[in-house]
Symmetry: D2
Subunit: 266 residues, 4 copies
């Protein structure tokens, strides 16, 4: 029609080829969401399972995702360097990830919490962003960044809620007590006042959750650009069928975790 | 932490100020979605209601949306020119709209179709995009574009499915019959072969659905930049409380529809 | 060749259609440039003429430029809303303007200053940027912004150099004297201490320079989109042949300056 | 002033960190430029020297440029991965390169061609673009791309002009004769009809020109991010003082050319 010219105002951003894409989703206003649905404090194991199952479903849906890492209300998905999903159109990628994590969260919420149906006034929404990284060393630093963040938040939240629930403090008092404290101070508070050894806290809380699409050495694409299109399809099929495994490990110091999975950087 | 530098790789796009923003969402693979959940053909009234109720919910959530138009598996939301939601960050805007339409669709689906629970393997997902338009004349052409598209698709689908369901044709036969036909041909087929006057088809199918946030003349922002911040807040409140009404009218020829709502272009 | 794929890494930004484009160029390090070539202080009339003649040449070269405004080492060029030069590719536009103003500056420098040949170690370079504006009211504010800036700088520089050259102050002393002063203070210093009435300073210093491509009423494109391509070509020809006139007027208060040139906003 | 808000419409693009930046400049309309100033055909050695000297000047001005390659009216500059010039703002980078190559071309033109002063109606202008590449293998392919292009053009132009000047053909006849020919055909024409061995043509025509900022092994930044700021300054100084050498070598097959300069990829 004579109105079609308005489509020309659309602007597309194709993410730079040959770079790793990280898509991070984060729950919108989960401070209130967790209150509304009465999450356990500081960590609600079932709510974490909802996130993890939803993220795993996203990863199953998009076979370009090689690994994912999440904690609290967020998840980061690593897409392989050669990914050409939606021709790397940024808007398509991030809106599809935002939509998919949201509906999968909805779905698994109903499974985990049949007794707490979601209300229209407080549905689980997620923003999403895509970031490109030119080399794999940056990718390792990226996941280290998120895991350090998980650790800092969890140590704080654990100490804070212990002071409140076991120490009888008001939230305000607990907050004041923690101002200016460093990690060792918080460990000390937990241990000396409450006999809690933070190291013994569940790994899922301390380290977050890692989802790995487990390939085998020989499935590694040696050099995508040198593969025939039939070889590419074969690898693509392997990726689709590959098992997705769950870990709660240290990504920062565990060199072997990365080196044993050479396909991640290809 | 020493890893925080990786956040510097994030790139932000702030949509040009003082332009109208249109956010269009479109169902992902609704061809298959509509088959999976056995939509009526060519139009499933209840499925349309799910879309319309979900879109209305999005509009309630984001008070910067002044009107919306939708048909089939898509909806377009018009955000006012002065909108500063998320500082006009494109990624935040489109991912939040994609997420919100998706979870609201989920919610209202359960209300409309309690007998057809959504399966994890086929959840309702939507992509989203933002487009900026520098003047209101373009906005009118934009909505005309979408409504013409609705009309063309609906006339085709109505004729196609009539040929199949009432004319006993196979889909392939019907498709062949319609190749090269123009609008009047299809009207003629419907009328002479099946006694159907296309004009009498339901308006919701022919025109799509318009959602209007109904303000009053005096609530129009005369010139946002000249208002005090208290006046702005007062208008913002009015927008939040304004009723959202539903129409199935012609947007292309109905001049009055636009001129009677001067606040749209402010 | 098999290497051509590297071109796919190029990213293009097409400026939003139907918006006014302003391209501003600014001399790189003209603080030093003006010292190297011993510009008169605070204003070197011949150096200004070099800028003005160079800008006029740029405007002659690019017929989409409707007006330009400049002072000191900068110039802003207004491109008409319907401009499709280089398909509105931002990189092409800004690099061509940067290049053209630079070589024209070089050319007219040699004309104005035959006794001061440019040295390789200090050539006249300009950066450039493109900014899009969705309506003409913003364009008027844009030029007002630049003219106010010219005024503020010129009043300061005039007072400063008067204090130094006629008042016998060191630059440091003059600077200190002017700290915290407002416009009226500076006018007062000039008048009471040196008998200088700032209002009588040359208009070119106080107001900067405006270059206008002078069309006539009937040459105004009534509505570009409704013109036949022959009509468009005719207008394009008129633009190419139109005289470019020079003014040193007040753009902020002189309403008539704008309203008498309706083609600017078309 | 109250007009300053218009600056908010400016949009900045910061090039992705940790990627190689290539800035390619290309003469605007050099088909006509070379006719206007009567370049030798197919290659004007002095005109090439103007380009090469101008490019060398650009490289001296911007110490982040590690190498450059040029032929005909174009030059490509490689900026080191860690370059933070103008905070990697794309518009600043490309407009400054466009401006600098233009004025340096002007300057060296006057040196090489004192008898052919540049006319205002035909000044040497260049567009420029920036492209980011995430790894060095792409950079090698980039320069291979440009060098293959140089080869293809030069073989064509050499044969074409030989057919015209020595073979007495009209340009149209020469063009027709070359349609559908491959490299070996052109070599054959040159050799059998004119006794010209293309291999003996000057290297500068066949290979183009490479400018290398020659560092030494130990000056290589081992890992920029691990260097103290004093070490960085020391290396920066070395870069500034490093000699820029000129080559006309094969970049595609000459592995050693690259491996002997490890600093290029750091
Ligand atoms: N009680 C409880 N709260 C949780 C749990 N997981 C996440 N949350 C809450 C704590 C935080 O307030 C919030 C996540 O922090 P964010 O920085 O993402 O903030 P929020 O989502 O409120 O705002 P945003 O929309 O992301 O800017 O979610 C949990 O397992 N238990
Ligand atoms: N039977 C039936 N189908 C519908 C109805 N509304 C939408 N659909 C189907 C028909 C179309 O195949 C599809 C919408 O067309 P699209 O162009 O959006 O295609 P689709 O969503 O399959 O692919 P996409 O992911 O958007 O590229 O949805 C309905 O009421 N009844
Ligand atoms: N003496 C003298 N100086 C002038 C004249 N016109 C411009 N200038 C100098 C004064 C300023 O230092 C400089 C223009 O200011 P800018 O803010 O553009 O600074 P500059 O070009 O040095 O740095 P930039 O590369 O633009 O960031 O040019 C003139 O007519 N006479
Ligand atoms: N006779 C002669 N011509 C040359 C020489 N070097 C370059 N040229 C001319 C031949 C080509 O027509 C032109 C370069 O080709 P381009 O593809 O860059 O085209 P041109 O600059 O005309 O257009 P453009 O503005 O870049 O799209 O410059 C030379 O040494 N001798
Ligand atoms: O749906 P369109 O026609 O606006 O086009 P698109 O979404 O940009 O592309 P596609 O749906 O084909 O992915
Ligand atoms: O809107 P915010 O504050 O969450 O902004 P953000 O860009 O999402 O920041 P972050 O990555 O810290 O959530
Ligand atoms: O010169 P090219 O081939 O890189 O292409 P472009 O400069 O993007 O386009 P053109 O020269 O045709 O304007
Ligand atoms: O590099 P600068 O500081 O001149 O930065 P800018 O974006 O050019 O700023 P301005 O418009 O003030 O010259
Ligand atoms: Mg956030
Ligand atoms: Mg959150
Ligand atoms: Mg969070
Ligand atoms: Mg689509
Ligand atoms: Mg769809
Ligand atoms: Mg659709
Ligand atoms: Mg500046
Ligand atoms: Mg300057
Ligand atoms: Mg300046
Ligand atoms: Mg080109
Ligand atoms: Mg060229
Ligand atoms: Mg060229």
């Amino acid at each position: 029609s004579r109105f079609e010219y308005v489509k020309q105002f659309e602007r597309e951003h194709h993410l730079l080829p040959d770079t790793y894409i990280v898509i991070r989703v984060d729950g919108k206003g989960f401070h209130k969401f967790s209150e509304e649905y009465k999450f356990d404090k500081p960590n609600d194991l079932r709510a974490l399972q909802v996130m993890n199952r939803a993220a795993q479903a996203v990863m199953s849906q998009f076979s370009d995702v090689l690994m994912a890492y999440g904690d609290s209300d967020e998840y980061s998905f690593l897409l392989r360097k050669q990914c050409s999903l939606y021709e790397r159109r940024e808007m398509k990628l991030i809106t599809m990830f935002a939509s998919s994590i949201s509906t999968n969260y909805y779905y698994y919420w109903n499974e985990e919490f049949p007794e707490k149906p979601l209300k229209q006034s407080r549905l689980p929404n997620f923003d999403a962003r895509a970031v490109t990284y030119p080399n794999f060393s940056l990718i390792r630093d990226y996941f280290s960044w998120r895991q350090v963040d998980c650790h800092i938040n969890n140590l704080y939240n654990t100490t804070f809620w212990t002071l409140v629930s076991k120490g009888g403090m008001t939230p305000k008092e607990a907050e004041n007590k923690l101002i200016g404290t460093v990690a060792s101070d918080k460990n000390e508070i937990l241990f000396s006042q409450f006999g809690i050894n933070y190291n013994n806290e569940p790994e899922i809380f301390k380290k977050g959750t890692i989802l790995m699409r487990e390939m085998t050495q020989e499935e590694s694409e040696v050099n995508e650009s040198e593969l025939s299109s039939r070889q590419k399809q074969r690898i693509e099929k392997k990726r689709k069928k590959a098992e997705i495994k769950t870990y709660h490990e240290d990504l920062i110091t565990n060199e072997n975790f990365w080196t044993s999975r050479p396909w991640l950087s290809l």
